[in-house]
């Protein structure tokens, strides 16, 4: 009925070897000679001094956690500390109580529980990542005020204009003609812009701003090809892909912080890499969604599905895959070989679904009568 430990006075940093005695009704804390004082003190008769005496109900016993020492607080600042977790639990049980937070400790000490917890965490996280995040993102995207959408879009466009784009060389009359032609096929009222960027590309911002680069306009051999790309971009706007991506990445970063708790800057930056991978997987899904949108709109307006395939093929030959970075044109021919090889292992990294598959879908569609 004795527990060995240390007695802290609470007012001074003195630690005394001490024994908790619970053989009587009251709990008794008795100081005992530790090894050091035994050696120096020859007369070890009156070493046992009663330090404190109180009822069990006055004690505050700390919760068990791993194998760290238990703290038993008496009134005021005095406390008794012992490594003997089992003895403390026996003391608690003797007084007819369940060890406080015993349930939590039971959860934490058991490997089966740990594995269950791991599975639950993984399931919930993966499930949330797969279904929850897109759901929350699309719900939130629908409820973002127009003003905010406009603000996000115009500030990104300002950034692009400052660092990436130059004013377009396409004549005003041609721009106007294209605007009128494209707007006829769109249910939303898009703001169509032209910029010089050094590569064939087109993209859409959440506010409905759709940008074509001069290079893409030059690459197109028919206006219906531009229309096909345009419808793809309208698909992004209609499905609010841009907003969803922004919201998703914010949810992701919060979840990452939660998963690792307190994390340092380096680990954080390194660990965002897998998040980027999942992000690009999601945006590939969006590309497919936009492709489908363009596919149905083209069918609806009786436009040859081959137009989309044609311009995509030409884009692919340019090796730019619409979204990717500028390519050093002089190196292109010799690098074609390495690029196709590399695209194999970096398939997951590419934002757009394998371009071949996309083209094939439109070519097949064109063959079928509808």
């Amino acid at each position: 009925m004795r527990i060995e430990g240390f007695w802290y006075e609470g007012t001074v940093a003195k630690a005394q070897a001490c024994v908790l005695d619970y053989s009587q009704d009251e709990i008794c804390f008795i100081s005992v000679a530790d090894e050091k004082t035994k050696e120096t003190n020859e007369t070890n008769e009156t070493n046992e001094i009663e330090l404190w005496r109180c009822r069990y109900s006055d004690l505050k016993i700390s919760e068990q956690l791993g194998d760290i020492p238990r703290r038993i607080q008496c009134q005021h600042h005095q406390q008794f500390v012992t490594k003997d977790n089992q003895a403390v639990n026996a003391l608690i049980r003797r007084h007819g109580e369940k060890p406080r937070s015993g349930a939590l400790h039971w959860l934490e000490k058991n490997w089966t529980n740990a594995i269950v917890a791991l599975l639950i965490s993984l399931l919930v996280m993966v499930g949330f990542a797969w279904k929850g995040v897109p759901f929350v993102a699309s719900y939130a995207a629908r409820h973002v005020p127009d003003k905010v959408v406009q603000q996000i879009s115009s500030s990104s466009m300002r950034y692009f204009d400052r660092y990436l784009f130059a004013p377009s060389n396409i004549s005003q009359s041609r721009q106007q003609q294209l605007r009128q032609y494209l707007s006829k096929y769109s249910e939303i009222t898009p703001n169509i812009q032209f910029r010089k960027a050094g590569m064939a590309n087109a993209f859409a911002l959440p506010s409905g701003l759709i940008v074509f680069t001069d290079e893409l306009i030059e690459l197109a051999q028919h206006d219906e090809e531009i229309l096909a790309i345009f419808l793809h971009e309208v698909g992004h706007v209609e499905h609010q892909h841009g907003l969803k991506l922004v919201i998703q990445s914010s949810i992701w970063s919060v979840m990452l912080a939660l998963w690792l708790g307190d994390t340092n800057a380096l680990a954080e930056s390194l660990l965002t890499f897998p998040v980027l991978l999942t992000q690009s997987a999601f945006s590939r899904e969006y590309e497919t969604e936009s492709d489908n949108y363009a596919y149905h709109k083209m069918q609806q307006h009786g436009i040859d599905l081959n137009r989309f395939a044609d311009i995509m093929e030409r884009l692919m030959q340019q090796n730019t895959l619409i979204q990717s970075e500028p390519l050093n044109t002089s190196e292109r021919s010799q690098d074609d070989q390495t690029n196709t090889e590399a695209s194999g292992y970096l398939h997951y990294l590419s934002t757009h679904p394998a371009t071949h598959e996309r083209i094939k879908k439109f070519r097949n569609g064109a063959k079928q009568p509808h």
């Binding site: 001074v12 740990a114 905010v148 390495t338």
Partner: protein, 379 residues
């Protein structure tokens, strides 16, 4: 220091004052931080103690605690997080030993929970204000800038107050205006000196953090010199020039490759590696500067962390965390804690000399407001 310090803490039990000379604050106050005055003339040996740190946590034990608390946090939609956090922290404090006694962290999760609610309310009001009354957004931003040092200051107090050793609590005195200056205004101004003042900013920050912390009635002090921080700054600069210079050389040699090429991926890995070298150097040196050169009363801390040793552990940790998709994290934390305990020692006087701050000295208001925030601030 207030007058209260001069009163001797009342002895509540017969065994309270074994060394009257050592715990008498009147005597203690006369000695300065760096003095070598022997407080207890009868025992000359008191100045030559050597105390070791030890860390006894294990990866497998902590993994179970970590994953169970994580699962509970997830199931409760993060509501459980304050409880999980306190348990994680208690595990690390409880397993850190100095001279045969362990540290203790006994914050109450409810208080952290309240802090979270306040932070959430602030965030929501910020979002609402910036959406519906954009004119006020600027005002709100200024409020946030002013509030940040306050939260930092309160968090430092919170974490120190609930940390104890041998029944004596740590503390953080601090002052809002100094925190605002050292952690917001001064670093901002230093940007305009092209980073020339950054080592001085670090020096001032660390010195302030250390000197405002106390254990019982004694304050810590930082003996590190300004020149040591400038040496670190110069080293970091040299590392950055050589490292990023090599990356640029590599990129120029192969041109600016398109994405999806092996060279691009390799360049990205190189950039990460240079960042890794820089961060580990900064952390290792900073640890030695802060934990190796702090003093309290007639005790001094010493830290002998080596760059290679620290880098090896960090590298292994990062690689294994990536390979296991984060599951190695608990082991990584344990290894770092073990390494830190292993390289840190305390030399000097008696550990038993410290006297607790009397509880009446803490103002009731400060206690309540101060208990709300719990940012993790690495010292």
């Amino acid at each position: 220091m207030t007058n209260d310090d001069k009163r001797v803490a009342p002895s509540l039990t017969p065994a309270a004052s074994p060394y009257p000379n050592l715990i008498d604050p009147e005597v203690a106050q006369e000695e300065t931080m760096h003095s070598k005055i022997d407080l207890n003339a009868s025992t000359v040996d008191d100045q030559n103690h050597h105390y070791e740190f030890a860390f006894t946590g294990t990866g497998s034990e902590y993994f179970k605690i970590w994953i169970v608390n994580l699962a509970l946090t997830i199931i409760t939609l993060t509501l459980y997080h304050p409880w999980a956090k306190v348990r994680n922290k208690r595990y690390f404090y409880g397993n850190t030993w100095l001279n045969g006694h362990n540290f203790e962290y006994d914050a109450q999760p409810w208080k952290i929970f309240k802090g979270r609610l306040i932070a959430l309310a602030l965030l929501i009001s910020y979002v609402l204000v910036s959406t519906f009354v954009p004119v006020l957004e600027g005002v709100f931003f200024i409020i946030l800038v002013v509030a940040f040092p306050y939260v930092l200051f309160m968090s430092l107090r919170f974490n120190a107050r609930y940390s104890s050793y041998r029944g004596i609590r740590f503390g953080f005195k601090g002052d809002y205006w100094y925190v605002l200056w050292y952690f917001a205004v001064y670093p901002f101004l230093a940007i305009f000196t092209f980073g020339l003042l950054f080592p001085h900013v670090w020096y001032k920050q660390k010195q302030y953090l250390v000197s405002q912390h106390n254990f019982g009635q004694k304050s810590f002090a930082l003996n590190a010199k300004l020149s040591q921080f400038y040496v670190l700054g110069t080293l970091l600069l040299l590392f950055a020039i050589v490292g990023f210079g090599f990356v640029f050389y590599y990129l120029f040699k192969y041109g600016l490759p398109a994405s999806g090429r092996f060279e691009t991926s390799f360049a990205v890995v190189l950039v990460y590696f240079v960042l890794f070298l820089l961060f580990t150097l900064y952390w290792q040196r900073m640890y030695n500067l802060v934990y190796g050169q702090s003093v309290i009363a007639n005790l001094r801390l010493q830290a002998n962390m080596t760059y290679i040793g620290y880098m090896a552990i960090m590298f292994k940790n990062i690689v294994l965390i990536l390979l296991t998709l984060g599951l190695y994290y608990p082991w990584a934390k344990i290894h770092i804690a073990k390494y830190k305990a292993q390289v840190t020692q305390i030399y000097g006087g008696d550990l038993e000399q410290f006297v607790a701050v009397r509880s009446e000295e803490k103002s009731a208001l400060g206690d309540q407001v101060g208990d709300v925030f719990d940012l993790d601030v690495a010292i």
